[in-house]
């Protein structure tokens, strides 16, 4: 990371010219010290003892619709969210954001963030409802949004995207039987 920038910073600082020389060669002077710090990072630790690990204590998150003021991590270039839904059993976390495609409010879109906390992996999927045939199309389709709280006991295996991908209206039921209402 930052090889190019760091070289410039090192030239400026290492040559004894300090910030002034760094500025001459193009490195913004404000950044010179921080970039030089990056160049000094080793690839091994002098401490060879393991650190104590915190207790692994899974904390499930009951399925819930996220409050309207909850931050959504999805870029507006991808999604203008209407709302979101979150669930976790402590091992797998799924957050589903429903709304309109970034840049085209006529296109409904759902983005699914899935974190496998045991395996240490995260996926982000974008799902758009199938567009209707032109002869049956309406001029404007509203973006989907979660309409009501998912059924009590909804689990991360419920895969609400299965419902989202089929339709943007009415209550839907996933393969696992979970009620996932989009409208």
């Amino acid at each position: 990371m930052l090889r190019l920038l760091t070289v410039l910073a090192l030239l400026g600082l290492g040559a004894g010219g300090g910030i002034a020389l760094a500025a001459v060669v193009g490195t913004p002077p404000d950044k010179a010290a921080a970039l030089a710090r990056l160049a000094s990072v080793a690839t091994t630790d002098s401490n060879t003892e393991p650190a104590p690990a915190p207790p692994s204590d899974p904390h499930p998150i009951p399925g819930r619709i996220l409050a309207s003021d909850a931050p959504a991590p999805i870029s507006p270039a991808v999604l203008e969210p209407s709302n979101g839904w979150l669930v976790s059993d402590g091992r797998t976390l799924v957050a589903v954001y429903a709304g309109a495609a970034g840049g085209d409010p006529s296109v409904g879109r759902v983005v699914v963030v899935r974190q496998d906390l045991a395996a240490g992996t995260q996926t982000v999927r974008t799902v758009e409802p199938e567009r209707p045939e032109p002869s049956r199309s309406r001029p404007h389709r509203s973006a989907p949004r979660w309409r009501r709280r998912p059924r009590r006991g909804a689990s991360v295996s419920g895969r609400p995207t299965a419902a989202c991908s089929r339709s943007t209206s009415g209550p839907e039921r996933s393969a696992a039987g979970e009620a996932a209402h989009l409208m």
Binding site: M1, L2, R3, L4, L5, V7, L8, L10, L11, V25, G26, T27, P28, D30, K31, A34, L35, L38, V41, A42, T43, T44, D45, S46, N47, P50, A51, P52, A53, P54, P55, S56, D57, H59, I61, L66, D69, A70, P71, A72, P73, S75, P76, A77, V78, L86, S88, L93, A95, V111, V113, Q115, L117, G120, T121, Q122, T123, V124, R125, T126
Partner: protein
């Protein structure tokens, strides 16, 4: 400019920067943080640090970006963030989690080195009552906590680690002035590089003029939050248009302010460009000016 950079690199013994021939770096995972309480946040961060070390693809310094959510003023004297589960965490909680991420990386370290970044966003700060002064303090304390983390890393012999800060600054999410205050606060504190992993949403895709972007922003504003002070651009490149917008930002800065380069790119799965294509697309329009870093949400 490119010849000058190449000459400098030769002097430094690194050879020229054959940017056109450089392949995209292997992506490293960046995380959206969903927590429930402080202890769970700590164990979550420990696991992410360990995961990152185990999966580190090369021996270079790579960025572990933990996005703790929207910067917030929690009380008259307390700053922190509200994460993506809508849980509020103080900076003390976040620092403790960052320390556990450092522990996790250390315990699972196999190769290379890491820059652990305290990430936040400019999501609706003013809408929840924060002023520009509050945002300035949020940026200041974000850098302070990053420096605190570095103190922890150094005191524990974690020589393969360092620390910085980052923010997903999206024009759509809040106004120019309050977002610039995040960058200014970080700069005033003086420790942390401030990686902007946000967008140039709505900005023009060609030229070098100070054109209009979304939400009253202009190209010059995006340039400011991405390169002023300690800021460095690690832009979201999800579609080819994003690379074009950021090229305009770079050209605008170069026309009036001086040299500009990208710290790498931020990518995602589930969007128009694959992570590798995202980096390559940005690099193709800014050859030699994109560092080999590729933070990826969803990889």
């Amino acid at each position: 400019m490119r010849l000058r950079l190449a000459a400098i690199a030769v002097v430094a013994g690194l050879g020229p920067f054959p940017a056109a021939a450089r392949a995209a770096p292997s992506p490293v995972t960046a995380w959206y943080v969903y927590g429930t309480n402080a202890s769970e946040l700590a164990s979550y961060a420990y696991a992410r640090g360990c995961d990152f070390a185990r999966a580190q693809p090369d021996t270079r310094l790579r960025l572990l970006l933990l996005d703790f959510g929207a910067a917030r003023k929690l009380s008259s004297t307390t700053w922190g963030a509200v994460d993506f589960s809508n849980t509020r965490f103080s900076n003390a909680d976040i620092l403790d989690a960052l320390k556990r991420a450092a522990d996790g990386y250390h315990n699972c370290h196999a190769r290379g080195s890491v820059d652990i970044a305290y990430g936040s966003t400019n999501y609706r700060m003013s809408g929840l009552g924060m002023t520009a002064s509050d945002a300035w303090s949020a940026g200041w304390h974000q850098s302070e906590r990053s420096q605190n983390l570095h103190g922890y890393q150094a005191s524990h012999g974690y020589d393969s680690q360092t620390s910085d800060a980052a923010a997903d600054m999206e024009p759509s999410w809040d106004a120019v002035t309050i977002t610039k205050a995040l960058v200014d606060g970080d700069e005033a504190q003086g420790w942390a590089l401030y990686f902007d992993f946000g967008s140039a949403d709505g900005c023009p895709q060609s030229g070098s003029a100070d054109g209009a972007c979304t939400n009253g922003w202009r190209v010059s504003d995006v340039a400011y939050v991405s390169f002023a002070g300690l800021a460095l651009p690690l832009p979201e490149i999800y579609y080819a248009a994003n690379a074009s917008q950021w090229t305009v930002v770079r050209k605008w800065w170069e026309a009036g302010e001086g040299w500009y380069a990208f710290a790498g790119a931020t990518a995602s799965t589930g969007v128009g460009l694959t992570p590798a294509a995202a980096w390559n697309t940005l690099n193709s329009s800014n050859s030699g000016l994109v560092e080999p870093e590729l933070a990826c949400f969803g990889c």
